[in-house]
Symmetry: C2
Amino acid sequence: MSTSSFARLPGFRDFPPEDLALRSHIMEAWRRVSRRYGFLEYDGPPLESLDLYVEKSGEEIVDQLYAFTDKGDREVTLRPEMTPSLARILGDRSRSMSKPIRWFSMPQLFRYERQQRGRLREHFQWNVDLVGEEGVAADAEVLAVAIDGLREFGLGASDFRARVSDRRVLRGLLATLGVAEDAQPAAFAVIDKLERMPRDKAEEALATGTGLDAAAAGHVLETVSSATLASLEDLVGSSESGADVQSLRDYVDALGAMGLGDFVEIDLTIVRGLAYYTGIVFELFDRKGELRAICGGGRYDRLLELVGGEPLPAVGFGMGDVVLGELLAERKLVPEFASTLDYFIVTVSWDLRSEALRVAHALRDKGHSVSYALREQGVGKQMKSASREGAREVLIVGPDELARGCVVARDMEVGTEREIELADLT
Amino acid sequence: MSTSSFARLPGFRDFPPEDLALRSHIMEAWRRVSRRYGFLEYDGPPLESLDLYVEKSGEEIVDQLYAFTDKGDREVTLRPEMTPSLARILGDRSRSMSKPIRWFSMPQLFRYERQQRGRLREHFQWNVDLVGEEGVAADAEVLAVAIDGLREFGLGASDFRARVSDRRVLRGLLATLGVAEDAQPAAFAVIDKLERMPRDKAEEALATGTGLDAAAAGHVLETVSSATLASLEDLVGSSESGADVQSLRDYVDALGAMGLGDFVEIDLTIVRGLAYYTGIVFELFDRKGELRAICGGGRYDRLLELVGGEPLPAVGFGMGDVVLGELLAERKLVPEFASTLDYFIVTVSWDLRSEALRVAHALRDKGHSVSYALREQGVGKQMKSASREGAREVLIVGPDELARGCVVARDMEVGTEREIELADLT
């Protein structure tokens, strides 16, 4: 048989213990932070009806889905994102639930992009959603969860920042700067690409798309990319977008009160691609700007209605394990993988094995981790295994000590030995 | 739009928080027990090449797979079991690893059975495998993990039992009872169905399949189904299967030494279907016999080689979450689902909100779970939310107390109140 038949599929990861340990480290941190904010964990199926995504995002998304026809002739797909499943699950039950609803999940998500070889086709994504509250305090709460989700790993304000925008404010600012209503989509498109394009090209594109002259286009880009809360209050505060600027101020103030002000920057060049965002949006980036966005989210007040549920305001984010893993590695924040064990039982001769098993199982019943050789071996070889498995203490079961009702316990770190009464172990 | 487009796919489960809580309860117990035995967690992709299963189990398994052709024209399938992935992952690396290898996983597995409507198409399965040790001590160790995996939920020897067999011993016994070598497969088939078929029908089938007369067939079935270690030692102990009976004795003795003897019964009518088992096999059943097998496993010494890896002996089991969940429900061992919270912050007036946020975030930084209203609400309504979210303590942020640098803490269980200095909270 060809061994290539048994290769892993391209774009998928195996998780041998040393890699699973990092995945667990990440997920346990996410879970701790979610719970600290009173969020409850949920999950959905990894496979969903294709329609669930087409309805929301349009047919073009199908090109990127891991989609297929199942044996029952259903058009199905491995889930590419979690929010539609959340909306579907809440659709059936949200009317009878107290609001706001605070739910989180850590699903594995899948994309099939035909062109991009070498890129992963799956990742795990922390999804945090707060549903049923339209006030900006909910937006601030959700960004705080995301920020704390990174702080939990030891990352600080010198490592990452949250770039915050609000398309309603941007729209107001563009209007103030003379960009006509019908030219705004063109302006959004240029602003979205601002970071990945030289400034003169951007000016040219903006001028072409909006009909502004070169100087005015330059002024727009400069004003948008350097906007602060204060400049927005000056420029837009008294316009019809004034209330949105005030919201942004309340949002930033709330995060400041939580002690998270250093992480938050207004940045109107953040234009989240997904069509469903309706208010404040944000992305988290490493400060060095070397990595893709670590996390993205914002307010999406129309999604639940779109998938047939109760009309409910909602705000949430998704944070993937891959970019985060790269950042942790780069900052030397990945814990060293080492197997550890509370006890390794060394048996001086194989005929004492029953006694060794009795001790081992009694310790396991008390919650300790215990291992021992599964075949007859010399004491030296057993001690080596104990060391390799990371045992903190070795219990030596020998005939003389057994006769006195004891075993010898050796501390593997310090090397000291003491006797322990069997009665205390079992 | 039709709401049916947004239904869950048949055979899949959603896990809203109350269901996810049970799933987590089960998985955390499995993980604790695995670690107590020194096993390390791993995982593989949910999607694998179809060949990985066809090679091992033959083309007929394809009918039951959730298989499809992907956009890259690969024949792929959602994983129906974990062991082939384990073999694939170990195939690349086992040569450089110390033996025995102790690995566990808790994958979601998938089957697509066209006929059986209403049956689940996915479940989560605890997989525990001990690789690289052929001695029967490894078999005993693995069954002990499975038994402790159920004991961890509060189930005891009156709730479930392990039925243990060894096809080599059964073969020896059948030979002793006069079943010819070439008639043994027919005998296995009858014995496998013994529990689901009236005894007279079974005798008839056995007689037909083996050429024995009715009396001899009855004697075979009686002897096989009532076999004990002692009867096997008498009947088979001195035959060429004698060493296998001795192994079974050592196995049972080891489990006895661990204090697990009450859970273990020799039962030669257990014939595990999968072709790859090579030694002792076992299944765990509820004592009342109301449910399907909770767990099944045994020794499979040829699998790793089959998938192109190093020839390594191995023993392992799989335990699913669905039957176990039914057993826990039946025995009233499912923990009650309740959201809990360390603190709920009640703000007497909305303008004290910054102070409330400061307190809340300081408590979260210390690891406490904290919630509060996200919009202006009266104290009474906030107290109701605190109660609904299961807060153990409510911290009341009011102007007079703040002026004295305090908040009022109310114990929600006892109803007592005390003042806490802000400095002690933040």
